[in-house]
């Protein structure tokens, strides 16, 4: 069974036929994706399924990776944080290093493509040096929230944008003013990945047992890094408001440390302090590849929380909805696109609000199940990789046929 057939089992035959029809309009085009790593991180996760699927759909697609010294990655990590608004200190030499590493990579790259997607800030200067290559058009795919970047870093990145014909952002709210069109393509989840694939009941129970979680009792879950924007203390506060009324309730906070956030360790210390010696609160530090563990936790939760105060797109919300769990989310970022009151969960603004909505979902089991089913179908329609590919193909057709009116292809 090839990849398309495997995905067809999830998205349905008709949807796959539609996707093939759209891809047929781009058959034979040569596309190259360039990013900075083959392993780890959300971009590599996306490209791992996108590249083979585009090939199976008839679009000749390659994946190239730039390389650089540890110092280069230190600088680009700082860029990543600065684009998302965190204060960073960079020297002139850091900007020059970024520029120089892009030049070196461009010299060794042999690109002959109709479209080159440059992912995120790391390889953004490549087009400036790809003179001998035959590239039809460049598209910058920005996966992060660029709405409030640090000025000097943004100016450096903006100066690289002249050769680009388009930029792509995950949400309109994440976009920056640029001279080229700014397409909006939300991210998606891969239903066959370890994090989202169906798992056996035995594996689910084994995971809970290993983590010391009682499978017979109701569980609240938040999966996120331990940083202030994810408000883990607010989640504990909501749990404490409910615990006197729901004695069987358990709370699981699962995540990894925010290595690039100096406050991460401090937040984690505060979380442990707030949790105290309550045996029904589990604070789990999971390694970055604990995808199946997270899968099992999400499938075991009664209600999933993402009580963020500031959020990117919030793919953990998408993952929980796909597993049929209603989500109580902070009203920010991409959570507002996914959590719709009384349909897929509730948007909340405080620990009290979260507690109130959790109580509602605990009390009305049938409504909770119905919202879970709606959330699953909502993700199938809007946030699976089939929609993601459809959006890419639609954008590529628009770039090939510029204009304003409806495009019939």
């Amino acid at each position: 069974m090839n990849l398309l057939e495997r995905y067809e089992e999830v998205i349905g035959h008709r949807e796959m036929v539609r996707l093939r029809h759209l891809a047929d309009r781009l058959a034979g085009r040569r596309v190259v994706h360039i990013n900075s790593t083959r392993t780890g991180g959300g971009v590599a996760e996306i490209l791992r399924w996108m590249v083979p699927l585009m090939n199976e759909l008839g679009i000749v697609t390659r994946w190239e990776v730039i390389s650089g010294s540890p110092d280069f990655y230190r600088v680009t990590k700082a860029f990543h944080n600065a684009v998302q608004g965190l204060p960073v200190t960079l020297k002139k030499a850091d900007f020059e290093l970024h520029y120089e590493v892009n030049r070196e990579n461009a010299l060794r790259m042999d690109l002959d493509a109709d479209v080159v997607f440059i992912h995120d800030p790391q390889p953004i200067y490549l087009p400036a040096f790809l003179g001998a290559n035959r590239v039809g058009r460049f598209v910058w795919r920005c996966h992060i929230d660029a709405s409030r970047p640090q000025r000097d870093v943004w100016k450096h990145l903006e100066a690289a944008m002249a050769p680009y014909q388009a930029a792509v952002f995950s949400m309109a709210a994440f976009a920056r003013p640029l001279a080229c069109p700014k397409f909006i393509i939300p991210p998606s989840i891969d239903p066959l990945s370890d994090k989202n694939c169906p798992i056996s009941e035995a594996e689910r129970l084994e995971t809970l047992g290993r983590l010391g979680i009682d499978p017979e009792r109701r569980m609240l879950l938040q999966v996120s890094r331990f940083d202030r924007f994810k408000d883990p203390l607010g989640v504990i506060a909501a749990y404490r408001l409910l615990k006197p009324y729901y004695r069987d309730l358990q709370l699981v906070l699962a995540g990894g440390p925010a290595d690039d956030d100096p406050e991460g360790a401090e937040v984690l210390r505060e979380v442990h302090e707030q949790a105290g010696d309550d045996p029904d609160i589990k604070v789990l530090m999971l390694p970055p590849d604990a995808h199946r563990t997270i899968n099992a936790l999400q499938r075991s939760a009664t209600v999933v929380l993402q009580k963020s105060l500031r959020e990117g797109f919030g793919l953990t919300v998408t993952e929980a909805l796909w597993k049929g769990r209603p989500v109580i989310g902070g009203a920010c970022g991409g959570i507002t696109l996914q959590v719709h009151d009384y349909h897929t969960g509730f948007l909340v603004h405080s620990p009290a609000g979260a507690a109130y909505r959790i109580a509602y979902l605990l009390r009305y089991g049938e409504k909770r199940l119905r919202m879970g089913r709606t959330g699953h179908e909502f993700v199938r329609e809007h946030f699976l990789l089939s929609r993601h590919l459809r959006d890419y193909f639609t954008m590529l057709l628009c770039l090939e046929h510029p204009g304003n009116g409806a495009l019939i292809v």
Partner: protein
């Protein structure tokens, strides 16, 4: 007599682009409606139907939803929710209606409603990309079956977008049925569906109900979950 031409089934998608403008309060919304390109109004008042999933969503367009949910101005949400863009001959005429409604609401207000941070309305324009699916529908009965299983994007293209193409006159289904001499009552009833106030799932059910009343069983049977 020429042989019956089959119905040509299309599907479609939207390429959406940020215009780099957001509204935080009612006055900003008024200014935006006054000055944004027509494609922005078309997206937020018409094409947003393609992004609407929920059967219980009270309002058929983004602007009404944002006034209700974002600004908490329920009166304005109700008023904009009732503005049917397909009853306007041009987008400029729609713009004039929206501006009149917003100005009327703003006129006597002492405090302008604001949204909470994170609930801003980020304006978007879109371009519709449509393509022939290769499917051909030979008869009215087969059309009813096709409507039952076609994507909601196809429904949007053949109903909403068709109304745009024909200046509000007709959808593609009833136009084709008219051409193949189907029952005039069927054609009239299909055109009478208030499609703008239905989401696409509800529209499918409304279309199938009309077919069911005008075509013999069992070809136009309602879907199990209707």
């Amino acid at each position: 007599m020429s042989p019956m031409q089959p119905f040509v089934l299309f599907d479609c998608g939207l390429a959406r682009c940020a215009v780099g403008r957001a509204c935080s309060n009612l006055r900003e919304l008024f200014e935006a409606i006054r000055t944004v390109p027509e494609a922005v109004l078309e997206h937020h008042m018409m094409r947003c139907a393609l992004e609407d999933y929920f059967e219980l969503n009270e309002f058929p367009n983004d602007l009404a939803r944002w006034c209700w949910d974002g600004l908490g101005d329920h009166i304005l949400g109700e008023q904009i929710g009732l503005i049917d863009p397909y009853q306007h001959p041009t987008i400029e005429a729609l713009r004039a209606t929206l501006l009149n409604t917003l100005e009327d609401r703003l006129w006597g207000m002492e405090r302008i409603p604001w949204c909470r941070p994170g609930m801003e309305l980020h304006l978007v324009e879109s371009r519709l990309v449509a393509y022939d699916t290769g499917e051909r529908v030979p008869t009215p009965a087969a059309l009813a079956e096709a409507i039952e299983r076609m994507s909601i994007r196809s429904l949007f293209y053949h109903v909403h977008e068709a109304r745009r193409r024909t200046g509000g006159q007709t959808d593609d289904f009833s136009a084709w049925l008219e051409n193949v001499d189907a029952s005039p009552t069927l054609v009239t009833r299909l055109r009478a569906i208030d499609f703008y106030f239905l989401n696409l799932t509800q529209l499918r059910q409304a279309l199938l109900q009309v077919f069911q009343q005008h075509l013999p069983e069992p070809t136009a049977a309602l879907p199990v979950n209707a």
